[in-house]
């Protein structure tokens, strides 16, 4: 389904700000699976997601989706296969436009652009119907600018828009991180509902260990641009938040070890 092969990306190479965000990352995701990506800050988990979405061109390696090599596809071309929800609740919608107009855009994701009216009564009915499933009362406010809604409502709508056309792959980039705990739980619940209902293949970056344990059926842990742990199948079924934190501490200790060993070596030999 999604095949990431030996992906390497270095930002600002050769400068003091050089960041080796992805160091030889390979990953395969099966159709219909829901995978969480966790990791420390700067571990490259968001970079991995952005690489799949096409925000930048990798230095080397390839990305395959449904047997199509999409490595050199532009971001907007990939949108025909990939649905996206961003961390920032304001990033996924056009604030100055109405709910209906925003969704009308999503309804034609990856299709040819036409000179027919974006919204007519039939489209409006269809929008109203699906917005109702969010149970937020937004179906009565279809003509309100989306900028007047709360972050949680906007995130729920972005999720609806991203999955409107059943994308081959759904990318969730810490999409509940900027919401208050109650709203975050609600959006997480909607996420689970939509993914199970439409049997979507999803890749989710998250900061919440609990979310990683609860929602997906596979957890990948990244550290310093590499995949360091992969909990799947029975292993994933047994994993608890405590196990994840333990794994975190292990890789962080390894880091410290690296440094102290380097120091000792320096003292002895230099």
């Amino acid at each position: 389904m999604l095949k990431i092969n030996r992906l390497i990306k270095t930002f600002a190479p050769g400068t003091v700000n050089e960041v080796r965000a992805l160091r030889d990352v390979s990953l395969q995701i099966e159709k219909g699976s829901f995978t969480a990506v966790i990791g420390t800050n700067g571990s490259g988990k968001s970079t991995l997601l952005n690489a799949v979405a096409g925000s930048f061109v990798p230095d080397s390696g390839s990305i395959q989706l449904f047997d199509k090599n999409i490595t050199s596809w532009s971001e907007h071309k990939r949108a025909s296969l990939v649905g996206r929800v961003f961390q920032n609740p304001f990033a996924g919608t056009a604030a100055g436009m109405t709910i209906a107009e925003n969704i009308a855009l999503a309804m034609r994701r990856g299709k040819r652009w036409s000179l027919t009216m974006a919204i007519n009564s039939k489209v409006r009915e269809e929008i109203s119907e699906r917005v109702k499933t969010l149970k937020m009362g937004l179906e009565d406010r279809l003509d309100n600018p989306i900028g007047t809604l709360s972050g949680g409502q906007r995130q729920a709508l972005t999720l609806l828009m991203a999955t409107w056309l059943r994308p081959h792959l759904l990318l969730l980039d810490e999409h509940t991180a900027a919401l208050d705990p109650k709203t975050a739980a609600k959006v997480a619940e909607i996420t689970r509902e939509i993914i199970t209902r439409d049997k979507l293949t999803a890749l989710m970056v998250t900061h919440s260990m609990q979310q990683a344990v609860d929602l997906p059926d596979r957890i990948i842990m990244m550290h310093r641009g590499r995949i360091v742990e992969d909990f799947r199948d029975e292993m994933k079924a047994r994993v608890r938040v405590a196990n994840l934190i333990e794994a975190f501490e292990r890789v962080q200790k390894l880091d410290l070890f690296d440094h102290s060993v380097a120091e000792v070596l320096q003292q002895q030999y230099v």
Partner: protein, 313 residues
Amino acid sequence: MGIVLSAFTIGLILAALTMGMLISFRMLRFTDITVDGSLTLGASVAAVTIVNGWSPWLATLLAVFLGAVAGMFTGLLYTRFKIQMILSGILMMTALYSVNLRIMGRSNIPLLDTLAVSDTTESLIGNIAGTATHINIFGWPVSMADFSVFITALLICTLTGVALRYFLLTHLGTALRATGNNPQMVRAQGVNHNMMIVLGLSMANGLVALAGALLAQYQGFADVQMGIGMMVWGLASIIIGEALVGTRTIGVAITGAILGTIFFRLLIAIALRWGLNPNDLKLVTAVFVFIALVAPIWIKSLRKTIWGGLRNA
């Protein structure tokens, strides 16, 4: 009456410019300075072709097309060559100055005894009204020629406004509006946002050139200097329009652009009548736009100090 009618007529003609800038400034949020050059481009192309015996309608269409090409170049400078927004417009505007001189061959072309688009209307009205030379509007006699120009401008402006509203409500138009709102989101919805910017700037400058072509025919000449400061005039009209009717829907915003332009022309006509030196006109407009831009912030902070003071008392 003459002064009011001419203010209305120029207002309706320049409404095309304001509608164009509504696309670039308000929908795409692109500060496009090409306007100063593409208005003159429209005027010079129309003038040269009309003097050479073209039909004024065909001449105007060619002007619109070439204006759109100019806008397309600005868009490409920005999207393909990654030149800053303002600089793309400045480069294009500067280049157009020479292009316009080349097109006209000199700095000014008079349009005396040539046909204009309003002549079609005049002959149509002549068929209905017979050989009358004047028509009565609210008790004022208005010459048939002036009246036809007004009607022509009204028709073109209305048609343009309706067509623009329709376009902005289509799928393509919705994508274009969203591009200015949130380019990241637009890409995520599978739209090439660079293409939308090029398309929007083409349309905007096509409309600006339409205003230029009509203006040249109305005032009876094309001049290489006529575009200077037009962008600020258009901006002033947009601001007035938004103050008059708001921007609740696309239709309202377009109506606002038209009404704003007319109102602005009326203000100018009155100010000139009261003895404003025409040389000061652009300074006054610039000051007006400055005030319109900063006033909302001042009012906000003023309100805060007043209400804050009351609350503390």
